[in-house]
Symmetry: C2
Subunit: 85 residues, 2 copies
């Protein structure tokens, strides 16, 4: 059985992974990205890609899946940013 | 000495922690937050706060410091979002 510390870590991972989704829906709906920082989402995508590599090396499924989802969402936001300036 | 997998994890942590900084500077400079999702930064702040608690339980200094910095930046962005609609 998981202890409460592991559960806190998992809930933390779920929160930070789904965080990008409302932003993604917002740019999808509004087609407006003026206030969004390209620097932020570029660094973020680079970071979660490295977390993904880290997870692959450690063979850690939660790290792999959480960061794959975060990377995909971050890249889509960057594509919107490039398309709708 | 640190192995290369640990170094990948540390660089990943640095990237995802400093990612919010360009966004923070952008809202500071432009005073415009229309395209920023409150949902995203609320979930993000909740998530990194839980990561912080997780780090405190594990007594893991990198997790504590990275998520403290991320939380502070996220909260400041939310304050700007509330102030400049």
């Amino acid at each position: 059985m998981m202890d409460s510390i592991t559960i806190i870590g998992l809930v933390a991972a779920i929160f930070t992974t789904i965080a990008l989704f409302p932003q993604l829906m917002k740019v999808w709906r509004t087609k407006s990205t003026k206030d969004i920082s390209t620097g932020m989402f570029s660094l973020y995508c680079g970071g979660v890609l490295l977390w993904f590599v880290y997870g692959v090396f450690l063979n850690d499924f939660p790290i792999i899946i959480a960061n794959s989802l975060a990377f995909i969402q971050g890249v889509v936001i960057l594509v919107f940013k490039a398309k709708y300036k």
